[in-house]
């Protein structure tokens, strides 16, 4: 008798606090494959960072390690938060980040010619990176309850376009074309999954191709140079083409099995530009070769696969559309970064998720993973 009461009380307690999901069942619902992959990626990125520091534990390694630990913990905490919460803050968080972008525009820190950061004393935050996640959250909420026939209405289209163009504009003026494009791609991914008519995409694409000459005319001289350099890197091997040539040399000289950990001559003799950030894959690829690079791609592929699988297994439309869009966005980040360092795309500033050094980018990615993990843990949660 007493036992039963005790049981009842315990049940009541968990029910009240955790909204039908017990702490342990949440643990059980964790996607361990995704978690393992993320941790593995974190470990690889740490090792690579250690190599960029020349085989010593220096600033970048320490800083990356701290951020990795803090943000992984944050991700785990986020997974326990009910998916309903993330749904509820969809618009609010977007507005906050917009506010932060305006703040950046007004009072931001300028570094190497662009005003991208705000000083939060313990961290220099780059709000444009956060926008890559929160625009998905916002649009996912926007489309969650919308009927399919309303999706293609002019009103919906205009609203969602405004939601995308507003942060894009704020980021372009920083100036940071790369990130603004990535934000746009994140937003467009949501619109695509929401079911907007194919023809709009086709029209947009046609419009883009037609207006390409005008767009090029509006590009800044350094951006034009990047495009020209992409088309022919050898036109200025020591100037504009230097980065891409050296990057290709590093990757190509890696061979099948690589030069070995801490033995990448291109990187530790400082031929590689931006080796901590955008070009980190080059260093990894030089030291671990084709086998290592392919393995890294497989890890990314598994992560993306798991994100999609979580979306597929979610009960709520919101969780589904978020996971699919986030998966697509992550995929695009990876593709753009790798295509860039492999000489398949012009140089655009775009970090490789988790691998690249940079707090804001990792923060954004980890928030995304946290929400995905929360969707997994609360996969049976329906949102009214």
């Amino acid at each position: 008798m007493i036992k039963n009461i005790w049981r009842f009380k315990m049940y009541q307690h968990t029910r009240l606090t955790n909204n039908n999901f017990s702490f342990f069942s949440k643990f059980k619902n964790f996607d361990y494959i995704l978690l393992t992959c993320i941790l593995l990626l974190g470990f690889i990125s740490l090792a690579t960072m250690y190599s960029t520091d020349g085989g010593k534990v220096l600033f970048h390694t320490k800083s990356h390690f701290t951020k990795l630990i803090a943000f992984t913990f944050m991700m785990l905490v986020f997974s326990f938060i009910n998916i309903k919460f993330w749904f509820s803050i969809g618009y609010f968080s977007y507005v906050v980040v917009i506010f932060l972008l305006i703040w950046t525009y007004l009072f931001g820190i300028t570094s190497s010619g662009s005003q991208r950061w705000i000083n939060l004393y313990f961290i220099n935050l780059q709000p444009s990176e956060l926008m890559k996640i929160f625009i998905i959250l916002c649009l996912a909420k926007y489309f969650h309850r919308m009927k399919l026939e309303h999706v293609n209405s002019i009103y919906t289209l205009l609203t969602s376009l405004i939601i995308i163009i507003l942060p894009m504009g704020l980021v372009i003026v920083q100036p940071d074309l790369g990130t603004s494009l990535l934000i746009a791609i994140s937003g467009i991914a949501v619109i695509w999954f929401a079911g907007i008519n194919h023809k709009y995409f086709i029209y947009t694409m046609l419009g883009f191709v037609i207006s390409l000459p005008f767009i090029i005319a509006f590009l800044k001289p350094y951006q034009k140079l990047r495009v020209l350099t992409f088309l022919d890197p050898d036109r200025d091997p020591l100037g504009a083409g230097y980065q891409i040539i050296q990057s290709k040399i590093a990757v190509g000289s890696g061979g099948l099995f690589g030069k070995g950990f801490l033995k990448g001559t291109q990187s530790y003799l400082e031929f590689l530009p931006e080796k901590h950030t955008d070009f980190i894959f080059t260093l990894f690829s030089e030291e671990f070769g084709f086998v290592g690079s392919a393995l890294l791609l497989v890890i990314y592929a598994i992560i993306i696969y798991r994100i999609i699988a979580i979306g597929a297994g979610s009960r709520s439309y919101f969780a589904k559309i978020f996971c699919y869009s986030f998966g697509a966005a992550i995929f695009v980040y990876i593709t753009i970064n790798m295509s860039m360092v492999l000489g398949l795309l012009p140089i655009v500033g775009s970090p490789l998720p988790i691998m690249s050094y940079g707090g804001s980018s990792m923060l954004a990615t980890m928030i995304g993973f946290g929400i995905v993990m929360s969707a997994k843990v609360h996969s049976q949660q329906s949102i009214a």
């Binding site: 399919l148 999954f193 003799l269 084709f290 392919a294 592929a301 999609i308 589904k320 697509a328 995929f331």
Partner: protein, 627 residues
């Protein structure tokens, strides 16, 4: 409710359909990325690996160690020494201003030198070596070493550099080295191949002639460098080869004596082995210290050498074109004998200045006012009677004379193309005059050619060769300076006779003997009676300007005439007379008469040369190699 749920179903099927489309795209793009990786890393691996190595490996050449010059006995006459240098690598210095001013004080650098160093510093990259001083004295070097504790980044370095231990004694023979300039690099492949900044190459003399053999080859250091060209680690060190050491035929002791004899005078001394053609000594005076040039000569020193009226920069032995004066007489006599113009009994009466030889209104005097009286060949040579030689030259004709003179080595380079500066001299004939001056030959010119005046010009080394070839009995020899020079080795020991009748040579030899060793001979005062040293020679006094009737009346002593107008004193000789081995030529510019100035020098030379003969013989090539 039903409506909404059917809408939900449609929504879900739409999103899932699109998810599959996107998924397939992702898959394809992933495959694209992997194939791009495969293409770069596996297929094109070799190309990029080469590019990567090209990026990171750089070669540095070090200055090669130059071969040495040894004399016949193995003494080093141009060697290498360890130069004390001071290097600074600016980036390793914490406070460059402080250090450089401290160094300036310690080394007592002048403001000019200091500015030069600062200028050099601005021209190089901060991790490249700045050579503050390239040749420090031991005193300053040790001073720097004592103060190293507060000179961070300053490196005292010992580097190998050229040294001429005998200073000016060999200058014109050996030449000197100095920093290679653009012209050197362009004209010489070897220099181009081995060039490093600061490389020193031969500028004149044998240093220049044997540059290819002496230069050696570079040490090569392969370094791994970073993107900014900074050296990270040494991968390989490839030792270069030291240049070839050349052994010369020179005897340092004789050379030193030659220097001593011509001290404070302008002129030249040559000593030659009359059988092998070995040059025992070859000196041109005044000389200068070749060590001055090794680290770049200072402006003051350079002006001092350049403006010296005695012209130390001219190698008088090879470049000096002198009228041979009476030293040509043995050749004139020989030519006359060979061509059957005269025999030993042919006599000419020399009646002094009142009765000179008259030709077409021009009169030709003997040097002796009172005249020599009746002269035969032996006496005419002995007393150097000009009237006699006017007469036989007139009878001989200049073309036949020039033929004999050329046979004995006059009128062409003695060393071939060994020295780029060597002059040919001039042996005139009628054809030459027609070609060069466009005029016909005059008989008067033949007459004065007979006493070595007029157009005829010879270098001291030619006179030495001529004497040597008379001394060895009229056989052709090939003078050489470098012993282990294979190119020339083959020509030796072919004694081609230069005469028609060996009796004629003996007559000339005997006449030269008389000139030195008999009473009334022109160099009788310089004779050595000891048979071991006894030599035979011929004096010469070459006029620098035409003697006028007024000069003849005044009959001034040498020291009363201005320096530039004094006669050149010449002397050629070979010895020992009984079993000859060496030939000597002495030329003293504006030295007065051959018998008073040049002949005594030859006497001293013969004493030393013959004393050292047995020592020289005792050393043969084999022994030298074993040492």
């Amino acid at each position: 409710m039903i409506n909404s749920s059917s809408d939900n179903v449609r929504k879900l099927s739409s999103i899932n359909r699109r998810m599959f489309i996107t998924g397939s795209f992702k898959f394809l793009i992933m495959i694209g990325l992997v194939s791009r990786l495969f293409f770069l890393q596996v297929k094109e691996n070799k190309k990029y690996l080469t590019l990567s190595d090209k990026n990171r490996i750089r070669e540095w050449k070090l200055a090669p160690v130059r071969g040495e010059f040894h004399d016949y006995f193995g003494n080093v006459i141009a060697g290498n020494f360890e130069a004390y240098q001071l290097h600074i690598i600016p980036e390793q210095v914490e406070d460059f201003r402080y250090v450089i001013y401290r160094v300036k004080d310690l080394l007592e650098l002048s403001d000019k030198q200091f500015k030069k160093v600062l200028k050099k510093k601005n021209e190089i990259k901060p991790w490249e070596t700045l050579i503050v001083s390239d040749n420090l004295s031991w005193k300053k070097f040790s001073k720097i070493n004592n103060h190293l504790y507060d000179l961070n980044g300053v490196k005292p370095v010992i580097s190998i550099s050229r040294n001429y231990p005998f200073k000016g004694n060999f200058t014109h023979l050996i030449g000197y080295v100095s920093q290679a300039n653009e012209n050197d690099i362009e004209t010489n492949e070897q220099i181009k191949k081995n060039f490093v900044p600061g490389l020193k190459v031969g500028k004149v003399g044998l240093e220049r002639s044997f540059e290819e053999k002496l230069i050696g080859s570079n040490d090569i250091e392969r370094y791994e460098v970073n993107a900014y060209g900074r050296r990270i680690s040494q991968l390989e060190f490839q030792k270069g080869e030291k240049g070839k050491t050349l052994r010369l035929t020179i005897d340092t002791e004789v050379q030193k004596l030659a220097n001593e004899l011509l001290k404070d005078q302008a002129g030249s001394i040559c000593v030659m082995d009359i059988y092998t053609g070995d040059i025992i000594a070859m000196h041109s005076s005044p000389s200068f210290d070749p060590n001055l040039f090794v680290f770049g000569i200072s402006e003051d020193d350079w002006q001092l050498i350049r403006n010296d009226p005695m012209k130390p920069l001219v190698n008088k032995t090879l470049q000096g074109n002198y009228s041979p004066g009476s030293t040509i007489k043995p050749i004139v006599a020989l030519s006359a004998l060979e061509n059957g113009i005269v025999n030993t009994n042919f006599t000419v009466n020399c009646r002094g200045h009142k009765h000179p030889l008259e030709l077409y209104g021009q009169s030709y005097h003997c040097w002796k006012k009172e005249g020599h009286g009746f002269m035969n060949l032996r006496n005419a040579m002995k007393q150097s009677c000009d009237i006699y030689f006017y007469e036989i030259a007139r009878k001989l004709g200049v073309d036949k004379l020039s033929e004999t003179a050329k046979k004995f080595g006059l009128g062409k380079e003695v060393f071939g193309d060994l020295f780029n500066i060597e002059k040919k001299g001039l042996v005139p004939n009628t054809q030459w005059k027609k070609n060069a001056l466009g005029q016909g030959w005059l008989l008067g010119e033949t007459v004065i050619t007979g006493i070595g005046q007029g157009y005829i010009q010879t270098t001291p080394i030619q006179l030495c060769l001529m004497t040597a070839q008379i001394g060895n009995g009229g056989h052709k020899i090939y003078p050489r300076i470098v012993l282990n020079d294979q190119n020339k080795e083959t020509q030796i020991d072919k004694f081609i006779p230069l005469y028609e009748n060996s009796e004629n040579i003996k007559i000339v030899q005997d006449a030269m003997f008389a000139s030195t060793n008999e009473v009334r001979g022109t160099s009788y005062k310089s004779r050595i009676d000891d048979l071991k040293y006894q030599f035979a020679g011929k004096t010469g006094t070459a006029q620098v300007k035409k003697i006028t009737a007024r000069d003849r009346e005044l009959d001034l002593k040498t020291f009363e005439i201005p320096y530039e107008e004094r006669d050149h004193a010449l002397y050629v000789a070979y010895g020992p007379y009984k079993n000859p081995r060496y030939a000597v030529s002495v030329v003293v510019e504006h030295g007065g008469s051959g018998s008073t100035t040049a002949a005594p020098m030859a006497k001293k030379l013969f004493k030393l040369i013959i004393d050292r003969h047995s020592l020289r013989e005792s050393i043969n090539d084999k022994k030298y190699l074993e040492i």
